[in-house]
Structure formats: C-alpha cells, structure tokens
Homo-oligomer: 116 residues x 2
DNA sequence: GACCTACATTGATGGCTGTCAATATTGGCG
DNA sequence: CGCCAATATTGACAGCCATCAATGTAGGTC
C-alpha cells in the first residue's frame, strides 16, 4: 500500500508515545468505513449470503424479498447501498434486475482488515 | 414484526427460484453485523490502525485522543465499542488503560466475509 | 393503446449513533 | 487525608438510517 509514518517513541515519560499522524489517514479511513457501513446491517449480510449461494450467481429482487420478511422498497434500498459500496453488480434484463457479487469485492474488504 | 399476509401472486412462472430459507440465519446475521458495525466508523478504523502500528502493541488513551481530533470521552466511547465487539483488549495498569488488538479478531472478521 | 408486472424513488417517521460538556471514579503521591 | 491525573460514565442533542406506504417508471402482453 503506502508508507506509514514511523512512530518515534522518543518522548518525555512513561505513559505513551507522541503519535503525531495516525497510521491511517482521515480520508482513507472514511473511504474504508463506507464499505463496512454497507456490511453493518444484518439484512444486507443476508442479501449477500443469498446471492453468493445462488447457483446461477445472479438473483432477482423477487427472490430476495420473501426470505427477509422485508418490503420490496426496503430490499431495493439495501441493494442500492450494496451496489454503491461496490459489493454487488446490477444487471437489468427485461423487467427483472439481476444481482451478482462484484468479483473480488469481498476479498478486497477482507484485505482492508489485514492491512489496517 | 408480524406475519405478512402472503400474496398469492399466481405468477408461478419464469422469474426465479424458490428461495425458502436464506443461507445466513437472522440471528447469525445480527451477530456478524455487530462486528462490522464496530468497523463502520472512520475514527474507529483509525484507532485500530494506530494500536496495530504501535511498536509495543499496547497503547493508552492519551496516545489516541490527539491524532484523532476528538474529545477524550468520545475516544473512550469508541474504544468501548471496539472492546465489546471483541476487536480490542483492555488492560488497566495503574491510572492508565492500555489497549491492544484482540488476537485473531481481525482475521476472524475477514473470515466472515469469505464464508458468507 | 390498455393493462399488468417488476423494480425504483419519494416522503415521512421512529430509532439509533457520534459528539461534546459536565461529572463521577479510581489510582498515585505528597 | 487531600489533591491531581487518567479514564469512564451520564445527559443532551444533532444527524443519520432502516423501514414502510404511496407513487413513479419501464418492459412485456393482449
């Protein structure tokens, strides 16, 4: 990734270190938080799970409303959030909208945790 | 919530698959969402980053307030959330409280994404 | 064209959350 | 014991968020 500012422990006393700049920049943190925000809802996790488990790899909204006990607009809203976070891919085919996992998106999120 | 009257769509046709039970259970999803909720804040990500980058592996609160531009109570609040999510470990030593990464916690969270 | 179906958008609302000021607690030190 | 320093807790408040009802849009069918 990028170079981290080395923390120089050199300070006065016992308690702690200086900690001038944090290891993770404010902007970068904000960006990464967006992905985890999208993952921070039980129903969205279940949506991802269902879509991932789907044999065809693509699922339409009518498949997703029933198992979640949510209204159709709510599911549509969650799907939008997941798409905007880059986790899902939407493909409109005729009247139906098919959703599939964005390739590598989950791995990418997992990598964020490893490279904090 | 309550039971929704099942609309009999009579459209048993071509759209999708049955989708009886979702792959991820409601309770399980709620539990996992708690971890991601803890990760879904930029300042908490930066806290984790600073603590992880700390040479000693343990950092006290006084090290964490300055680089984040947040008040001490707010930082304390964020740390509490991270501890309760199982991501951090708190060790009180005299007047100071030292925080360190909970071993394997980040890997565990990354695993959740892989095993959705 | 008229109508239906699948999905998206809007508006409203209750609940959650991040932040701060003020205060409480706890340990160390004289 | 009295005081200070480090941290935690409480209360209050603004902003965000998940949800639903109602409506809009667009594709398919007759």
């Amino acid at each position: 990734m990028n170079l981290l500012p080395i923390l120089e422990p050199a300070t006065d006393e016992a308690c702690c270190a200086p900690a001038g700049t944090p290891a993770l920049g404010a902007e970068e943190a904000k960006q990464k938080a967006l992905v985890f925000k999208a993952l921070a809802d039980p129903n969205r996790l279940r949506l991802l799970s269902i879509i991932k488990a789907s044999s065809s790899g693509a699922t339409c909204v009518c498949d997703l409303t029933d198992p979640l006990d949510l209204g159709q607009p709510t599911v549509s809203h969650h799907l939008k959030i997941l798409v905007e976070a880059g986790l899902l891919h939407r493909e409109k085919r005729g009247t139906w909208a098919y959703f599939s996992l964005a390739p590598g998106a989950l791995d990418n999120a997992a990598g964020m945790l490893a490279n904090l």
